[in-house]
Symmetry: C2
Subunit: 457 residues, 2 copies
């Protein structure tokens, strides 16, 4: 199996590209310019940027001019932008605290504007779960609208490869998982220009929602399992930070910080009752003796280790170490159709049937996966766009469906990616993750281990 | 400072050696022969084996003959053994489930037998905390009797060195700690000859009491802090094991197992509110990509990493990696008298005073500590015996006390080692650890995060 091939579209589609409108694409050096724009440039037959909405018209016009977006129109009204019949897909990439208001307007107009087929939002969906649930609930009535959430770590080639190795039984049954990560900021020092909302617990953008959120989403994705129970302890050990000047030197000024700088998280996965241990630290790490991101997955027949220089699995170039059995299917790694063993099967096996010792044809191998020049910042998001293109062009009535397109619902609406290799994460996937993050805060607040087996939808 | 020097006794003491009687020293190939006996052989001026009690007289006599213990008498009654005026020190090294009954008899007679000065017991003190507390409570009335518990990991030169580096501020303030370990047995397979009590939750000897117990004791010891709160999740994912034949080959026979095979533990240390994450796995590990024991300690100025081939910190030869500042005292690593910063100090510092960036004279260094030929099985226990000898010979009224001997109480009874470099762990240290382990089981059972700040004495 090769789930890492970049796109099912071997040729340029015969129909017109998906017309994309951006909320929050401002300037040639911001996040969108560095990521979405770069991805779309590489997929110019499939996507075309046709509209920009920003707080000021000037900023949109300047962006259009400086990046030569010759098909794009600048909008000075979010309402008119949302009503525009020439936009197939809206990408929302503003600060998370602004998501809710922007999405409410877009969704209001999407009831009338049936031309709008795709709504692609950066993680997190909203600044808190209540708002996110409200947004999700509105999209449920929009049968024509396909949602996409930017949990792009799932599309990292290292993550897909790890998922593939696990689902093929190459490391046997997983017995335990340990994760440690460093959340970059949130430490003793804060750059003068760093936006305030990053350090404000109310903004919903923090070590837990982002560093932990992306990583645990990826972990659930590669293991093919949600959690059964979890416990968390959240620390804000550094309530006051030093401000750094423009040269990165410490000034005498200090500033308060309300967001956490450490998360301890542990839980048991539903499938196979696998124990998972996580430690996420804020601050610029010293960490010379270990990487800033380490995911250790131990199995009965082998191990996987994923390492990254930065604690952000979704945007870092990674290294995947694999020790185990190639063609693991033979013995006990029989995957179900979606590559995930169900827990009954696993429990039964554990009661004395398995794991069988490696047989003669199961010689262990060790491998390292690393794409030296992989631009993960662009690449993972690019792969989400590719999945959208696959979905769009291959699910059109006039395009012959491939055998793999059975996941697409008759209504052409794709409910969630769940743990499938195909497709892309949706608002439903986002809601499940929002609820897990809520449980993390609740567990800490109430000093409890929580049952989270019912948070999935 | 050098806390790793082996003994303060530079010369052979002028008085007679400490006369040792063993309960459970049977045969030339068992635990005692491999450890305590080897240690005493190297300390023959300080210790002399004078008595053996075992279930059968024959086994004691055979041990005496085969190991040429020419000063030793075989006892066939535990009562007579406990009453013997020629024994200064009793070492109890029987199966943990038998500790309680043996200790009760010894302590009963110790009321009359004032010649008995030392009682040295293997960890755990008893098979459960209730019994251990009862034993501890009896020893409180025996002012003449000094207790010692064999938490020998504290004496490992790697652990002492790590403690020294931390207390000297060489890695700055600790920001987080992650531990993962493998508990050797408790996996899918059980050797035919392996004693049943190892797999029986009622015996009190298991992954939590032993693998976790020794490791977390060492962790508290090197950081100089007990826990404030903890959470635990205990798994028995392998309730049925395969029996292995004498060649280590899997038979078709299976056998039930009630003890856990995995522990997830996380907690916050009292000092510095340091988050600690632990994952202890049972079973023979595959683990080619990581060591069976890894303790990662991250600080604001550096890191420590302790690695071992086996998940047993107390008996494994280790490797200690250090990256940080030599002579760390200068900046912010001012230790208190016992090498431990108190939490007020740390919190104050964190509120905007510190940590200061490394100054010019604080150049970072990287070092690896490893004693290739160190026999940790014997060596760590040997160092406990050395500490006992130091205590015994240096605290005698006729011996001039060194400046360091202020820890010795006027009654000549040493209450607990706590976090001091000097001395040895006592029953009081054991009780604190027993209570922590109890909290681990309770936290799992009740799905709660527990306040453990009051369990210390």
């Amino acid at each position: 199996m090769n789930n890492n091939k970049r796109s099912k579209l071997s040729t340029v589609p015969s129909s017109r590209p998906i017309r994309v409108g951006f909320v929050g694409f401002s300037g040639g050096k911001g996040w969108v310019a560095k990521t979405h724009f770069m991805a779309i440039q590489q997929l110019s037959s499939q996507f075309q940027i046709v509209a920009l909405y920003n707080d000021t018209l000037d900023s949109s016009i300047q962006t259009i001019q400086s990046l030569k977006l010759r098909h794009a129109t600048a909008f000075d009204s979010l309402e008119l932008f949302a009503q525009c019949k020439d936009i197939d897909m809206i990408v929302v990439s503003v600060k998370v605290p602004e998501h809710y208001e922007v999405l409410k307007v877009i969704l209001e107009h999407s009831l009338e504007n049936l031309n709008l087929r795709y709504l692609y939002v950066e993680w997190t969906l909203a600044s808190d779960t209540k708002k996110a649930e409200e947004i999700y609930s509105i999209t449920q009535d929009r049968t024509n609208l396909q949602t996409i959430i930017c949990l792009q770590g799932r599309k990292s080639p290292y993550i897909v490869r790890a998922k593939e190795l696990i689902s093929e039984g190459c490391i046997g049954d997983i017995t335990s998982i340990e994760i440690s990560g460093n959340g970059g900021w949130y430490g003793y020092e804060r750059p003068m220009r760093s936006p305030e909302f990053l350090y404000d617990i109310e903004s919903g953008v923090n070590l837990i929602s982002n560093t932990f959120g992306h990583t645990i989403d990826v972990l659930q994705y590669i293991t093919g399992s949600y959690f059964e129970k979890i416990n968390a302890m959240i620390s804000n050990n550094i309530p006051v930070q030093f401000l750094l000047d423009e040269n990165g030197k410490r000034t005498k000024e200090t500033i308060g910080k309300t967001c956490p700088d450490h998360l301890l998280f542990q839980g048991i996965l539903q499938n196979g009752k696998i124990p998972v241990s996580c430690s996420f630290n804020g601050g610029t790490p010293v960490k010379k003796l270990t990487k800033n991101l380490v995911i250790d997955i131990h199995g009965t027949k082998g191990d996987l280790k994923i390492e990254g220089d930065a604690g952000f699995v979704e945007i870092s170039n990674l290294v995947l170490y694999f020790y185990g059995i190639k063609n693991g299917n033979g013995a006990n790694g029989t995957p179900t159709s979606n590559g995930v063993k169900n827990s009954n099967e696993t429990n039964e096996k554990k009661a004395g049937n398995s794991p069988t010792p490696p047989s003669a044809d199961e010689e262990a191998t060790m491998e390292v996966f690393h794409l030296r020049n992989y631009n993960s910042l662009v690449g993972n998001i690019l792969r989400i766009y590719e999945s959208i293109a696959d979905f769009h062009f291959l699910s059109r009535p006039d395009v012959k469906r491939s055998a793999n397109s059975k996941d697409l619902l008759p209504s052409n609406k794709f409910e969630k990616q769940g743990f499938k290799f195909e497709g892309f994460p949706t608002f439903k996937d986002a809601i499940i993750l929002h609820r897990l993050i809520d449980a993390v805060f609740l567990s800490d607040r109430e000093s409890k281990t929580l049952d989270v087996s019912k948070i999935t939808i």
